[in-house]
């Protein structure tokens, strides 16, 4: 008899993990290909087209970079909270709040202030409001142990409804023919772009934010405290760390990062607040963080990857008239196979012969 058994890996290197992740993505593409085939699209043609028009094309790269910006920020937002095993499902809502705050400052002072003042003000306002929105579940969790997964998730709906209210009510642009959008931001409240591309300052903000988070985690006292508390709360307590404060702080930092993402979308792309400006960027941030296994630097890679899925998916949508559901389907398959591959990071398959 030959058995197939799982055997614990003794030393799992980073490279093994990366290799397994890449294999998982490959498998996801194969499964996705089957679905494409099922709706009558030749998967090879589709993937080939995505390769040519996204990765081998200037405009493709530009799209990738633009899409990557919110993923960098929401991804690091989720990953930073996860350092303490806190699951921030509310990046979407915090992103909306960041956009609201940025919009408010833009509408309020955009005409009066220059860009040099306006943009830092917008960033700070977005960070502040994202942090405060996250502080509510953060406080409830720190003080009363309320499950943050539920509270952060529910606050998303509140945030989205609130934006709807603003757009249908006080902030609606009178000149918009009754469309629920604000008036366009003045030029000083629009993020600078790289050259003649549509890639905005958010890219730098995202990358810098990730580097800062990484540095703080690895090199500072509070970073060390977070790593210990994330691994073993009892050990943190025994060491005298202020766990309530750490919890609140990390949730607020997470909210602030997601807030910047919202600001980037309204001030870098749409130049106004409008409905559905976020295509589930906050939720996708959860996938980005998971794929990166919550490692800050890996978020850069996985954010790029998710951007490719989005841009590629959009392209297929246009080219083959596929529904947006196809993009979500791909996202789902990828997440599923990567999480499923987790077991191979710790165990390896082995054939065993047993018998007399």
């Amino acid at each position: 008899m030959i058995y197939l058994t799982l055997e614990k890996r003794l030393n799992f290197s980073t490279w093994t993990r990366i290799g397994i992740s890449i294999a998982a993505v490959g498998i996801a593409l194969i499964i996705g290909g089957i679905f494409l085939f099922a709706v009558g699209v030749n998967p090879l043609t589709a993937y080939g087209m995505v390769w040519n028009q996204v990765f081998m094309d200037y405009w493709g790269w530009q799209d990738l970079m633009v899409k990557m910006i919110p993923f960098l920020l929401t991804g690091i937002a989720v990953a930073v909270a996860a350092q303490m095993k806190i699951w921030n499902i509310g990046a979407e809502g915090q992103l909306y709040l960041g956009a609201v705050a940025a919009t408010w400052t833009a509408l309020q002072w955009g005409d009066a202030l220059s860009g040099w003042v306006m943009i830092p003000v917008m960033i700070l306002a977005a960070m502040f409001s994202g942090a405060m929105w996250a502080a509510v579940p953060g406080f409830l969790r720190a003080q009363f142990g309320v499950n943050e997964i539920i509270t952060t998730l529910l606050l998303n709906y509140v945030a989205i409804s609130w934006v709807d209210y603003l757009l249908y009510g006080p902030w609606r642009d009178p000149g918009s023919n009754n469309f629920p959008v604000t008036r366009e931001f003045s030029e000083s409240a629009q993020l600078p772009l790289f050259g003649d591309s549509s890639v905005h300052l958010g890219l730098i903000l995202g990358l810098v934010a990730i580097l800062i988070v990484y540095f703080i985690l690895e090199k500072t006292k509070i970073g060390y405290q977070i790593r210990v508390a994330g691994d073993n709360l009892f050990a943190a307590q025994y060491s005298g760390f202020n766990i309530k404060w750490l919890t609140l702080a990390i949730v607020m930092v997470s909210g602030a990062l997601a807030g910047i993402a919202g600001m980037g979308e309204v001030a870098g792309i749409h130049f106004r607040l409008k409905q559905n400006f976020s295509i589930n960027y906050g939720y996708t941030g959860i996938i980005v963080a998971w794929l990166a296994r919550n490692h800050p630097l890996a978020v850069i890679v996985t954010a790029f990857f998710m951007a490719s899925v989005f841009v590629g998916g959009e392209l297929m949508q246009l080219e083959f008239r596929l529904p947006i559901a196809m993009v979500y389907l791909f996202e789902g398959i990828i997440l599923f196979s990567v999480l499923g591959s987790e077991i191979f990071a710790e165990y390896k398959l082995k054939f065993k012969k047993v018998g007399n």
């Binding site: 614990k8 500072t220 060390y224 691994d231 025994y238 060491s239």
Partner: protein, 513 residues
Amino acid sequence: MQDEEISPTQAAIVLELQNVSKVFPGVIANDHVNFTLRQGEIHTILGENGAGKSTLMNVIAGLYPPDGGDIFIDKKKVRFTNPRQAILHGIGMVHQHFMLVRNHTVTENIILGTPQPPVLDLKRVNQVIQELGDKYGLTVSPDKKIQELSVGEQQRVEILKVLYRGAKILILDEPTAVLTPQESEALYKIIENMVAEEHSIIFISHKMKEVISLSDRITVLSRGKVLATLDKEKTNAKELAKIMMGDEAVRAMPVSASSHSKAMEVVVRMEKICADDDRGHQALKDIDLEIRSGQIVGLAGVSGNGQAQLAEVLSGIRAITAGNYYYCGESLQHPTVNDMIIRGLGYIPEDRKKFGIAGHLSIANNFLLRDHKNPDFYNQQFLSAHKVNEYGRVKMEEFDIRAASEKMQVGLLSGGNIQKTILARESSRPLKFLLASQPIRGLDVNATAFIQQTILKAKSEGLAVLLITEDLDELFLMSDHIYVICRGEIVGHMPKKEASTERIGLMMTGMKT
């Protein structure tokens, strides 16, 4: 044979292992092990942590299939691929860590996984359990929930569980590691009852005393190999220790350092200290306690009588509800953990894996745990990985922590090495007071000796030491002065020379003397 009575040395062999091997990636856990168990015999397996005892037992109990060799039960070759088959062949294992459902009753736990009619006849089952209990002295009320039982009672449920399944061969994996002396005595009695009923026992332990007094035969296991199988009559503790670890161990046995002769100042003084537990019930009542420099105060008591809360109060984790805590003459109102660390407290927590380490962080990073404000680990304001790792290497060398590298996850180390890591951290800052809670629980002889010597050295350097322990051997070996705690109260204290096992044992049950 003229003698009618069959002594265990001649009784039929019920279990035999021939050249059994078990290989894990990178380790040979069992290397051609030969072992026999006779009917009505108590056969002890002695060995250090990591010698392969538990693996061997798991092979016998069907949890791991062996990679080589044969197992015979009643002379018939068997091959188990799962525990159920082992149970059907009459093998029952009582695990060191109980596998009970805490909010279910004793009966519900016992029948779990056994064939029962669709409509449970609990009355009948209760009766069977009662009968089994009476037969072996395993008294425990079937309707109680596990969480209401003491550790000793929970263990009885585990034993009942395997007896209920018809086990003839019982494997007891370090059964006394979690018991009080009185509970251990009761267990010995139960084991004798079981042997009298022709059960055969495989007993795992590294407490030499009970091994000698209980066993018929002793097999010494080291690095997966059988070093010797000896009859109890033909050996003694010293010989066993020597076989187990070579000459090194005999040298490493601790010697009780003589009391510090200098005038000793009071380092810690508690006056009528009260505190609550996590649920808000009073856990400590009017505790009076005094610890002087150069003195080891032993605190004896059955686990769960307030020792944990006392240690937390002393280390600043738990708030005081009444009373005074003086430290080096200074009255502390609401000391925090950091206050106590700064004042020179080293604290070895009772549950070392739960509180003492962050298991997924490296060994080196764990040295920072309670010292992460120490500027020695920083370049300017920023943590220096180089300095942290360098420090880790030095401490690993100094405290004989055995691991491939200081970057290894500390949670992967053995219990002894984890405890050495904690001790290295807690004794390396400038100390006045060392608080050690169950420092040697579950450790092998070598690690125990090392830990005890380090504590004795701390004492001779003039530290005040509070040793919280349930192990009376350790208590008498180490302490200068003994306090006994029961139900959150100090029931008495005395210098070691006035103490005796009986007296302390009685006081642990709450009797004031």
